[in-house]
Symmetry: C2
Subunit: 323 residues, 2 copies
Amino acid sequence: MTSATFLFSPVEADLQILSENLIQLVGTRHPKLFAAAKHLFGAGGKRLRPAIVLLVSRATMLDEDITLRHRRLAEITEMIHTASLIHDDVVDESAMRRGVPTIHSLFGNGVAVLAGDFFFAQSSWYLANLDNLEVVKLLSEVIMDFAAGEIQQGDTLFNTSLSIEAYLKKSYYKTATLFANSCKAAGVLSGVSNEVAEHLYCYGRDIGLAFQIVDDIFDFTGSADVLGKPAGSDLKSGNLTAPVLFALAEKPYLEVLIEREFAQKGDLEQAIALIQDSKGLEQARELAKQHATQAVEHLNVLPPSESRQALINMADYVLTRLY
Amino acid sequence: MTSATFLFSPVEADLQILSENLIQLVGTRHPKLFAAAKHLFGAGGKRLRPAIVLLVSRATMLDEDITLRHRRLAEITEMIHTASLIHDDVVDESAMRRGVPTIHSLFGNGVAVLAGDFFFAQSSWYLANLDNLEVVKLLSEVIMDFAAGEIQQGDTLFNTSLSIEAYLKKSYYKTATLFANSCKAAGVLSGVSNEVAEHLYCYGRDIGLAFQIVDDIFDFTGSADVLGKPAGSDLKSGNLTAPVLFALAEKPYLEVLIEREFAQKGDLEQAIALIQDSKGLEQARELAKQHATQAVEHLNVLPPSESRQALINMADYVLTRLY
């Protein structure tokens, strides 16, 4: 099994700098935010998004060192991600995240809304100061996708006729857009051609989709300890993911349980059992593998390097989390 | 008395286009947002901010017509303002705004957080697509000031040692930053010199401060009908404004009432009576006048025009709201 630490080795020093910078960047303007930042950025986050940005930066810069703007982009990526988590937890009323209490459950809705706004605002500001309009456009697209995606997700809750295509689109807005646009932005900062930039976008998109599908599988296979939240949480809230949609084709009674929104005692447990008994989890694994494989193919445009190899291994890593 | 409608006459047609565009811009991506947008943008907002942006645009373009980018800037200004109102109402748990129910009281915290995020995100996106990095920087500064300002305000609640300088700084972050930076941005889009751009910034800042001070006076002189919320609301929540800070120097007992956070029955009513009996309201009016006068002086750098005259009259209008 590939460990994340080993995988990130070409950018280990970069990630160390990033962690220190993030707390400083976010905290300088206000001590309360400094506390929130330490709470958030120290809470065992995997740093997957900035690691990928830094690896793409190194893989596209080759002999030359990555610039301060590449580093800033990685920091912005993690800031946008964190801001969206804080607001998502308010919207979903989640009490726990990564096994620690959420900002809104610790400090209330008001502080959570403001902290999220501040992180979004600060990322927009740092973004503008990268002095590259294309990069500003790419990342502001992400922030818009996040908000539109959450609203769309709210609209399709308990909708058993959701297609796999619609699920993938939802997953793009929710997760993959940040991977896709930040990978492309790292390439743009390195001055790659439009063609290479598009491949970087596709790499990010497919890795992001694979990552989200694997996360959705975990909702049924992970323990509450590992998840940091109860198993079946997404299903309970009506967020229908790949394993559920595949299982629906095989287990008609699942549709009944979902459409009555698990109103009767034991409905949720029965639904989870039906999904686990179906081929849904295996089919979802296949879908994740497809996207991971496609992701790797997009790296063929890059010259070989230690960082490119780490990006290739990243696809395996995303999948190894499955077993 | 100068009416807003008369004042806006040079940009009346522009404001009509703006209203139609705003609902379209915000609503295209999602029907639920379209409904929220109609609710918000139709709720009797004064359109003061976009009107000023449009007037600055016309005053700096003179013979030439204003561009689509000037119009878009005015729309972005109103979008940022609206997004901040939606989130403020969640933070302050306000049930009413401009006499109509707030988004969070109608649709819940979740929808309010998402709608605010979406409007902020969309304004960032439209901003990036203005293709002018300086303008992106100016307006992303505003979004950051708003978030930092709200957090700071939360920190100084019931703090009777707040100085007038600190109050003005708070009012800048909360209100004047949007006026200041959007006026400057309109000038930048017209290609004015740095010197003129700075004067436009100062005009916006001083008009914005005068506007906020007048609003804070209303909290004590307006009726619940006009305010769309109960009188003394700010004071009750511990947000100490100009009339209160001036009155504190004159009425020592006010400090006692505020510092015990109006814990005893009749405390709030007594505090309001003390403020109304003091010179605080008159001193606050003087402060508003000072800023309105300063604002007008900054317009001397612009050549005479109907729009410049409307900007001068705007300063009077902000003050006439006082009587």
